[in-house]
């Protein structure tokens, strides 16, 4: 399957859900804003399903930019599901996935959350502090 056949996935942000954009041609996933929906499983389902299709013929390098302001524990598990899909892609020969985890200066909770994912997953993480 040609990954170019996949359309760009774009989900607009709300006051409870993040902006999501995954451009299969560029191999770049953006996840930004707050993720505090009551039903996180339902919200993340389209992204998880989309990743299953992308994983059939991913770009050589996939870059993931995560810049979350808040997320609830229900979302944290869904984000882990997303990262596990990316981990599977990273295991493929000649395929690479990098996760850029952005956190605000002094936000030790968000840094810790990124480090928790890093310790569970076998994907390169870059922790990027943003100045206020």
């Amino acid at each position: 399957m040609d990954s170019n056949a996949l359309k760009i996935l774009e989900i607009k942000a709300t006051n409870k859900t993040p902006y999501i954009k995954f451009d299969p041609n560029m191999g770049v996933l953006e996840l930004r804003g707050r993720s505090i929906p009551e039903n996180a499983v339902e919200f993340y389902k389209p992204l998880v399903e989309w990743l299953d299709k992308y994983a059939q013929d991913p770009k050589d390098k996939t870059e993931v930019n995560v810049q979350l302001e808040y997320f609830n524990t229900s979302s944290s598990k869904c984000i882990l599901d997303v990262f596990k899909k990316l981990e599977d892609i990273n295991k493929k020969p000649d395929k690479e996935v990098v996760i850029n985890w952005y956190y605000e200066e002094d936000d030790e909770d968000m840094l810790e959350a990124g480090e928790d994912y890093q310790s569970i997953l076998k994907i390169p993480f870059k922790m990027i502090e943003m100045e206020e």
């Binding site: 006051n15 409870k16 505090i36 009551e38 039903n39 499983v41 339902e42 808040y70 609830n72 524990t73 229900s74 944290s76 598990k77 882990l80 605000e104 002094d106 936000d107 030790e108 909770d109 928790d116 310790s119 569970i120």
Partner: protein
């Protein structure tokens, strides 16, 4: 009748419930207080979170973020887990509960929630929270990872929310169950967020 946003309007509630809420409000002392007694459906949660962000606009970012996060977990818990059979005339509200935020100072906030739970689930919640209170920081982290990697469902994170609250408050949380009638308990949960690290793990 709902929402109730002012303690002067609590008189419409059953006397026993009023006493509990007044008692929790007394704990706030002279601090700025936000009260909401409501039916905790998604629309209510949206409104409450908007109010909380405004109230926390002048506190340090770390306090604001932790208070907001804990608020999200607790009020979504009410939405997901509160009994649908609140007592008396409150039974018409599917997810009845209350929320109190006290800005004790600009560096300390106290969050309180209350909701009815069925007698059948009281022991499980109590056992779990007592267990968390007894954990060291390392044990808490280990449990967090264990639950984090389990499969989950739409009902939430399988107890992960309380662990997150314990971590964000350095285990500075308390709870009680008030026997309300033969079938119901009123579950009260308090969490204190402070910039200072209160080393109370394992006490």
């Amino acid at each position: 009748m709902l929402p109730i946003l002012n303690k002067e309007h609590l008189s419409v509630l059953p006397e026993k419930l009023q006493e509990v809420i007044y008692s929790e409000l007394d704990e706030c002392g002279q601090g700025e207080t936000y009260l909401r007694v409501d039916n905790f459906l998604p629309q209510t949660i949206d409104e409450l979170l908007c109010d909380i962000e405004n109230i926390l606009s002048d506190v340090p970012k770390k306090i604001k973020k932790r208070t907001f996060n804990i608020t999200v977990e607790l009020i979504q818990n009410i939405n997901l887990h509160a009994t649908t059979s609140a007592p008396g005339h409150l039974s018409k509200y599917e997810k009845f509960g209350f929320y109190i935020l006290c800005k004790m100072t600009n560096f300390v906030t106290r969050i309180t929630t209350g909701n009815f739970v069925d007698k059948a689930v009281k022991n499980d919640i109590e056992y779990y929270l007592r267990y968390l209170k007894g954990l060291s920081a390392k044990q808490m982290k280990d449990l967090y990872f264990k639950i984090f990697e389990l499969n989950h469902n739409y009902k939430g994170g399988g107890g992960l929310g309380f662990i997150d609250i314990a971590k964000k408050t350095n285990n500075n949380f308390n709870f009680k169950f008030i026997n309300y009638n033969l079938e119901l308990y009123l579950f009260i949960f308090n969490a204190t967020v402070s910039i200072e690290k209160n080393k109370v793990y394992g006490q």
